[in-house]
Amino acid sequence: MGGGDVYDAVIVVALLLVAASATAAVVQRDPARQALVLSFSGVVLATLFTVLQAPDVGLSQLAVGSALTPLLIMLSVRKIRRRGRSKEDTR
């Protein structure tokens, strides 16, 4: 089990990062900042998938979770914020 415990140790590190980023994403109430944390969570999830020997899933999580989903959330936040502010100054 010499080389084995390094594999497990790295899995534990990735799992703890995923749990911490998930907690941070939920605790963060502001959607714009939550999108940032979700982007970080996507990258850490992709690393966990690599450590669990699933590169295809890691690629998909990288492309979808860290680029597409935060972009959609940011665009929605911008639309809702712009709609709220559009009464005073037209942008």
Binding site: P55, D56, G58, L59, S60, L62, A63, V64, A67, L68, L71, L72, L75, S76, R78, K79, R82, R83, S86, K87, T90, R91
Partner: protein, 245 residues
Amino acid sequence: MNRLRLWLLALGGAGLAALLVAACLDLPGFGGRRHPYGDRAVHASLARHTANTIASVNFDQRAYDTLGEMSILFAAVLGCAVLLRQARDEHRARPRPAEVARPVRRYALLALPVALVTGLYVIAHGQLSPGGGFQGGVVAATALHLLYLGADYSALERVRPLGVHEISDAVAVCAYVVLGLASVLAGTAFLANTLLPYGTFNTLSSGGSVPLLNAAVGMEVASAVVVLLAHFIDQAVEIEEEHRS
């Protein structure tokens, strides 16, 4: 959040947590040796000369499920297009062109072709190395939006005609179904991978119909994501409401 709802949430959560933890303790240990389905899937994939077993599972052994997933993607993009269309009481305001720093503009315009080629590479090598239609499609679509970052939205709209992407989205879904029907016409089952020769292992043309289905899914995901982002960016940047007096 009144007290009652908080208490209900706490109670329900604790019960669910207890049940889930009890279930986890009964699961077979993490990293166990027994993976009956996995071994059979790898065996079937190697029999069909497909190097990437996940692509073989996705496009050969479970091709019918991938058809279902593609229709979910198509229906969701259709739903977004309907929901985010420009309503009667809205008008399109041309956004002021953005001033972007020179190095950022150069990086975006330089990284655009590289990301596009990477996306196509990930799609093309779907049945060999890690990657596939889904991942490559999303990367190619995201790459196209680098132009929005480098220049501004009007530049992106000129380069990316929305009609073409909607049509290519529909064509790709039909291509997938037609490929399935082709094997029915040839006398075997729908979406069965028995029509084309399997080619030599670990080459671009190996795996029978897997690369074709992979390319169809790649094209569909790329155009679906472009249409999706187009409607979201339109809402966020261009469409504004009339100011009700």
